[in-house]
Amino acid sequence: MDLNWNLLLQLLLNGVIVGMLYGVVAMCFVLIYKSTQVVNFAQGEFVVLGAWVCWSMIAWMELHFIPAFLFALVFMTLYGVIVQVVVLRPLVGEPIISVIMATIGLSIFMQALMNWVFGNNAESFPDIFGGWKIEIGGLQVEAGYLLSFVLSIVVMLAFFWFFKYSRWGLAMRATAFNQQVAASLGISTRQVFAMAWAISALVSAIAGIVLGLVNGVSTGLAFIGIKVFPAVIVGGLDSIVGAILGGVIIGVLENGAEFVDGQILKVGNMYKVAPFYVLILILMIKPYGLFGTKDIERV
């Protein structure tokens, strides 16, 4: 059999880059779960909304990319806070199933809202890179992918710094450890919860805009919320490092499956389901994920 090995390498490289973006979104998911014990099923919608807001600023308000990008970040940060205060704060202390239903409802609500405001069609961002590419060892990397890679790294470093050194980052970790202990140290858990949602929405927006630059933006992009789920579960629901690794694993698997499928099996669309098979396999062997702690509350 004559396989295209160069294609495999190219796909794997794409897998790593896309996987890191999954990892970033997965981190947002874990951040909310860890600090507020909420499973956010609307994470994908946060990603898309960020992309739509940035797109609309460029297309409707005729802003340049950078101001539109910054506006989208500010908007999404505020949006995260509002969602927390309006939707989730009243549910503090309620059964986990009620909270999950609320986030599923939020997801449906946001989808409908975005369909209404932005329409059903996919729109593309103006080409801000001018088709610019670089070559690494014979492999082509589009500028959009490169930006995605760089931003993923930046976000990860920022997360690392924030949780290791900043005052509020430590406060969030304390809250994740034990809310009563955190409160006894003078940390307002309400503020921490709002902040977790704000950061999560902000970073999701970054991921969404990057995805939009590469693939265009459509409300269907929210599928990333579903894709991120295996990444989160593989890494363990409460591990940030696990989320990144899970994201990369899912990204590589997806592209690996595409290669196997396209070159050998020719089933078609296998890349869409492959991550979920692996998810099931991993959960059979390690029910708490690769990095999850064993005493997590199971949902």
Partner: protein, 275 residues
């Protein structure tokens, strides 16, 4: 204030109390009455001990003072908490910490998956802009042992965790420390060391301390004034020495007295406790 002083316990200095509880009632889950008319006060610059059996409501009292009942679905339904003469009954926990009331929780509440330094830095959370690096050095002077512990707090021994918890409290520069069973799970030697530290906090830094303890003996030795609690209210109070010599206290809490035979055990059970 004057009206209140009538119900303030006898013997406590009325004007110089940093903290006063008047007839506090605490209910959990809207139905379970845990504190039923709890009144006590903590003298400024003094160590006050609060003793009682398991389930008497000692920890609940501390959490009510610190404003931490909300996380357990509890609430103060009656009475008032006065701090420096001001009503703080419903002030949220974070504001109380900023005002100088700090609870060192039972089981120490050290954040296990953080380093010692990060735990200490969090102690100063209520004081943004504090020079934590310098202040942590001062904490190390108090607890030289912590300086060498660079790993995660979860790997510290019980005694070291208790010291870390106290050090973390010091980082908040409190005026009143509420201490929930600092001797819990510690060896006798460590208990002595911890109580020595509590006395130093009181003498050298002038911090008022409300000490909840099962180890009544040690607590009454360290304290200036003591309260004994049963079923959600105070049943006896007095200067610590007086309490330590009280026959009933000796029998129930200090393990003294002559009752050794099985017969006398029964009489011990029949005997009516302070109610």
């Amino acid at each position: 204030m004057d009206g209140m002083s009538q119900i303030a316990p006898e013997g406590a200095a009325k004007t110089d109390d940093i903290l006063t509880l008047n007839n506090i009632e605490v209910v959990f889950n809207d139905v379970i009455l845990v504190l039923r008319g709890m009144s006590m006060s903590v003298g400024r610059g003094k160590i006050t001990a609060l003793l009682g059996a398991n389930g008497a409501g000692k920890s609940t009292t501390l959490k009510a003072i610190a404003g931490l009942l909300e996380t357990e679905d509890g609430a103060i339904t009656r009475g008032e908490v006065l701090y420096n003469g001001a009503d703080v009954t419903y002030v949220p926990a974070d504001k109380k910490v900023r005002n100088g009331v700090f609870l060192v929780m039972e089981g120490r509440g050290v954040i296990q998956d953080m380093t010692v330094v990060d735990n200490l830095r969090l102690g100063a959370f209520s004081r943004p802009g504090a020079n934590t690096t310098k202040e942590i050095e001062e904490i190390y002077e108090f607890f030289p042992r912590l300086r060498e512990r660079t790993g995660l707090a979860g790997y510290l021994s019980g005694g070291e965790q208790q010291m870390l918890a106290i050090g973390r409290a010091m980082m908040a520069r409190p005026k009143l420390i509420l201490m929930d069973e600092p001797s819990m799970g510690l060896s006798p030697l460590l208990v002595k060391e911890v109580f020595g530290i509590i006395k130093r906090l009181n003498k050298e830094l002038g911090i008022s301390i409300l000490l909840v303890e099962q180890n009544a003996n040690m607590a009454l030795q360290a304290a200036d004034y003591g309260y004994i609690m049963e079923n959600g209210k105070i049943v006896l109070d007095g200067p610590a020495e007086e309490l330590a010599n009280n026959e009933d206290v000796k029998e129930f809490y200090l393990g003294g007295g002559e009752r050794r035979s099985f017969k006398s055990v029964k009489s011990f059970k029949r005997r009516k406790r302070w109610l």
